[in-house]
């Protein structure tokens, strides 16, 4: 696994917490690597309604300075829920590498 800034190294039993838990934060788990397709928003059609932000199961949607959605691709799994829920159908799921 890629070691991002959230990574806490465990070398031995002494470093383990009492109970199994994520060390520090779930942000260590970069689920972007699971993705086949990624979301791209058509800003001309987007009404900035925020429904994609609301529905994203991985909380990867934030707003840019003008209020348009931005997707954090380190964690976006490419599930397409945002594209499905978008009332203007202005989010396209594009195949990785294209």
């Amino acid at each position: 696994m890629a070691k991002n800034k959230y990574f806490v190294e465990i070398k031995s039993i002494d470093d383990l917490p009492t109970m199994a838990k994520t060390m520090g934060s779930m942000m260590v788990n970069e689920t972007g690597s699971w993705r086949n397709v990624y979301p791209v928003v058509d800003k001309d059609a987007c009404t900035r309604c925020g429904i994609c932000w609301k529905f994203c199961p991985d909380v990867v949607v934030s707003e840019d300075a003008d209020g348009y959605p931005v997707f954090n691709l380190d964690y976006c799994k490419g599930c397409g829920v945002c594209a499905n829920e978008c009332p203007k159908s202005c989010i396209a799921m594009i195949e990785e590498g294209k």
Binding site: I13, T18, M19, A20, K21, T22, G24, S25, M26
Partner: protein
């Protein structure tokens, strides 16, 4: 202050003076009075706790797990089939290292449907990772309630205590109600290691762990159990200093000069003392040893108690089908590594609430003193 109370109400008062903050329980005979009293205490404001009504024992333990993880002192009580239904959550509580305390009335498992006592409900929960205390009197019940929270919270493992169905649960005796101020001094507020407050971070608890670290987490549980043994001794010392009563994991009765010792747990440990006295009057050098702690198993004290004896006996009010009595197995296991192995009798008595009288206890003592063991199970008081 001394008061005449049933064993069940001793549990309720124990939870009250230990200041349980969340009580989640589902009623079952013979535990119902515990829950009734606790709900009254909550309603009357005598106990500042949240009483959570649930639809099953599984939910009761699930509610306690949530409560304990969020930092509340959590308590529940159950019996027999209820404990069995709770099983999955019992494992969850210990693996999550949550110091929940539970009172279980030892009631036989059905079918056939039964409400009378034996220990198979808790013995069959042997490997759930819970600290297990077996009580002999109402006083021991109320005192163990207080100690159990303190021990569990230090080692971060859940603990349960057991009471024999009817022989303790519905039996009234005079018992000393520990002074609240003294209990508050002994048992301070529970500080959870886990914290579900999102402002203090956002870890996920108990999520997927591969073979990379699961093994070590298990070792940590075992280490906590080993540590619990020392803490139980330490806490008992302190309890004795503050409250004047002591409960060792293995407690001898007239064993100092005994050639023969009979190990026993639960209410039979009380009854057998009258039989030991009778044997002593007949000139037999015999004593009994109550095993109060089943997990962690007090191996060192068992070895010490067995040392230099001519013959031993173990009375089990339980059976591991296809093997023998559970305490019998454990005690033999503890002695195997020792250089001397006294002969040892295994008795199974009192299943399904079959009465174990002073006479039947005396008969077991007589067999230990007069005979060599021929088989692993000696059915006592059964219609063979």
């Amino acid at each position: 202050m001394k008061k005449v109370l049933t064993g069940n109400h001793a549990v309720s008062y124990g939870a009250m003076i230990a200041r349980a903050e969340v009580v989640a329980a589902y009623p079952i005979t013979p535990q119902t009075q515990i829950v009734e009293k606790l709900s009254e205490m909550c309603a009357d404001g005598d106990l500042d706790a949240r009483f959570i009504k649930v639809e099953s024992e599984h939910s009761a333990m699930a509610a306690c797990i949530g409560a304990s993880a969020s930092g509340a002192r959590a308590f529940t009580a159950t019996s027999s089939q209820g404990l069995a239904l709770m099983d999955e959550m019992l494992h969850w509580a210990s693996h999550a290292r949550l110091p929940i305390v539970m009172a279980n009335i030892n009631r036989s498992l059905g079918p056939p449907w039964t409400i009378w006592t034996d220990q198979n409900d808790t013995i069959s929960r042997r490997d759930t990772g819970w600290i297990q205390f077996y009580c002999e009197s109402n006083q021991e019940v109320i005192d163990t309630m207080i100690m159990a929270f303190k021990i569990a919270e230090q080692v971060k493992l859940p603990a349960f205590l057991t009471l024999d169905s009817f022989y303790i649960s519905h039996t009234s005796e005079a018992e000393e109600l520990p002074n609240q101020k003294l209990v508050d001094e002994y048992l301070s507020k529970y500080q959870a290691e886990t914290d579900l407050d999102p402002t203090k971070g956002s870890p996920a608890y108990g999520s997927l762990t591969t073979d990379q670290w699961y093994f070590e987490l298990q070792i940590k549980m075992q280490r906590a159990m080993e540590q619990a043994y020392d803490i139980i001794l330490k806490e008992n010392d302190l309890f004795e200093k503050m409250f004047g009563r002591s409960y060792l994991p293995v407690e001898g009765y007239r064993t100092d000069d005994a050639d023969y010792v009979v190990f026993v747990s639960g209410t039979i440990a009380s009854t057998i003392k009258d039989a030991i006295d009778r044997a002593r009057e007949n000139g037999i050098k015999v004593g009994s040893a109550k095993v109060r702690l089943f997990r962690p198993f007090p191996k060192a004290m068992i070895r010490e108690m067995a040392k230099g004896r001519k013959r031993l006996g173990v009375i089990d009010r339980n059976i591991s089908y296809g093997s023998e009595g559970a305490f019998f197995t454990e005690i033999k296991g503890a002695l195997y590594s020792q250089s001397e192995h006294p002969e040892i009798h295994g008795f199974i008595a009192g299943l399904g609430g079959r009465d174990v009288t002073v006479d039947s206890a005396y008969e077991m003592i007589r067999l230990v003193v007069e005979t060599s063991p021929e088989k692993d199970i000696n059915w006592q008081g059964a219609k063979l």
